[in-house]
Symmetry: C2
Subunit: 341 residues, 2 copies
């Protein structure tokens, strides 16, 4: 029917290119002090962003990132046809209470930390269907909202195991559309919920690695490509523990991705000096690193083709109380430069 074709078992290839026309990233103080500090558009020194509670602070991150992306695309907010947004919180309240103010049509998403991959994928699908010249993909996370939602009261000062990740305070947004931009989305691979039965919510990298492996191997098979066809394959927030598991699992599938693999969670913090253990995590981790680091490099032609694969750990306080496992999901998006050389 539309401007895309199914490919293999889980993928879609865009016959007419879908572009990323602008992007924006906003992060907290700790992220600003990390190795990527200089990459982000905006660093907020106040963790509460002047809000009365952490949830509202996270909503403000989304609004700031959305505005950055729209400005970067040279547009006004009224030109955004619809927003695809999500976050980690119960009933996605960071999104519900933030983007309402932008007065745009909205579809809310939930894919845990994979949500930026899902938002970009569905934004691209919508553009391919003809649903808009400009749509916005947007996600966020906040260290304090995530601790409150999933872990311990901050005041309790609980010790974190080395396998635990540190939720990124940040938001990233992309304007996706049919009018040419500096980066194009040429394909997507939709993830399957993958459950190896792991139950340790303090080791989410291990819980998500099987899903990353499922999506990346399906992607490479669907597109008949090898890892070398990508300048980078970049997962969202597997961290150090999850990365090693992913590399091992991929090798069992017959793919060696070690040379091209990067992980946003590993990149965003300095493990030695920032005490972040396994690395950064959260919807805002891959989203802010995408907007701050990955897209500029592709736009500049430094990387020709990147597979962006945010990963999510599907769990809630309730599923944890009930002794459930933590299934994972990973959504992959092929990003390519429009630079010729």
């Amino acid at each position: 029917m539309g401007a895309a074709d199914v490919l293999g078992k889980q993928s879609l290839v865009f016959r007419e290119p879908v572009f990323i026309q602008g992007w924006g990233s906003v992060v907290g103080k700790k992220e600003g002090e990390g190795p990527m500090g200089a990459c982000f558009d905006q660093i907020e020194e106040d963790p509460a962003l002047g809000a009365e509670n952490w949830e509202e602070a996270e909503s403000r991150l989304q609004i700031l990132a959305a505005k950055q992306a729209v400005e970067h695309a040279g547009l006004s907010m009224e030109e955004i046809r619809m927003i695809f947004a999500g976050d980690l919180l119960a009933q996605s309240i960071a999104s519900s209470f933030g983007i309402g103010q932008l007065d745009r049509p909205v579809y809310g998403l939930f894919g845990a930390c994979s949500t930026m991959g899902e938002a970009l994928s569905l934004a691209a699908v919508a553009v391919a269907a003809g649903a808009g010249t400009h749509v916005l993909a947007l996600t966020s996370s906040h260290f304090a909202t995530a601790e409150k939602e999933f872990r311990f009261p901050l005041e309790y000062g609980s010790q974190r195991p080395l396998s635990a990740s540190w939720t990124v305070t940040g938001s990233g947004a992309c304007v996706v559309g049919s009018r040419p931009g500096q980066v194009k989305i040429t394909g997507i691979t939709t993830g399957k919920i993958t459950d190896y039965g792991l139950k340790d919510s303090q080791n989410m990298g291990a819980c998500m690695a099987p899903a990353a492996c499922q999506t990346i191997s399906a992607h490479l098979r669907d597109f008949s490509r090898s890892p070398e066809d990508y300048d980078r394959i970049i997962t969202g927030d597997l961290g150090y523990v999850g990365q090693q598991i992913l590399l091992d699992l991929m090798e069992e599938e017959g793919f060696r991705i070690g040379k091209v693999h990067e992980d946003c969670g590993i990149r965003i913090f300095d493990r030695e000096t920032q005490d972040t253990h396994a690395g950064g995590s959260g919807c805002g981790c891959s989203a802010s690193v995408l907007a701050g680091w990955i897209l500029p490099k592709i736009a500049a032609g430094e990387w020709k083709r990147v597979l962006f694969v945010p990963t999510g750990a599907l769990m809630s306080r309730m599923s944890f109380y009930e002794g459930n496992s933590v299934p994972g999901i990973a959504q992959a998006v092929v990003l390519e430069t429009v630079q010729e050389n």
Copy 2:
């Protein structure tokens, strides 16, 4: 680009028809005893569906509805290219833990009780983009999981105000695709988050009515249609209180929809005998009524054109604790018969 065109401010019209090829509904005992009991494909007498906890019970509802819909479409689960699914629970765990077993690519959605409108919309957009011949839209709710998530322990036996709704135990699923079926989706209108500042989570109909009004009036303006162009305009779960507010608000917008308006929440229970106060609610309410009552009537040609508009109240336990308002959102889908006469 694709097989759809933007229309007006919030809508999309499909140039090539997108079809609903099959549907399925599964509900609990109380819903089975209601006025629509005979409409549903399956009535589960055991509220726990043999599961160990309520969340798992809700997951089982989703799997049963998905299987009914796929069977009704004459397909096997392997032929479903992707699933759009969501529920009301924190981190959408009813969906995460249910549909993983179906081994299909998944995009998770969150739009509170509007999720079936969102799932149908995005399924249609995906088909229009060329993302698959058959995709599945699926949502659920369960009385016991919703009470646990949002209200009081059942054992506490708290009194419910007359404005409160009763969460439907049920799930509905639709197979959406490009191959002809008995019902077609001809357009959608994407909802905006609409906040009138109401804070009473025991009166969700009032919280959602402004969003329903925003989406329905935008829809009628975008399509240059009047309410009489529809055999029915059917909201999700406004209930008795929300319905009256919607009719009043619509009149202020210049549209009299009283003659064609129906509400799934009002229809699913008998107020006199079932003690359900304002009516049924939940993602599973509009989804099961869609699959059990609305789609069969359209397929039979009894109704030529219906606007299906599930409404959602965007709130969480945390947003309630923090004294936030309850914004609403409503997602509209135009359903038409393929019968000629």
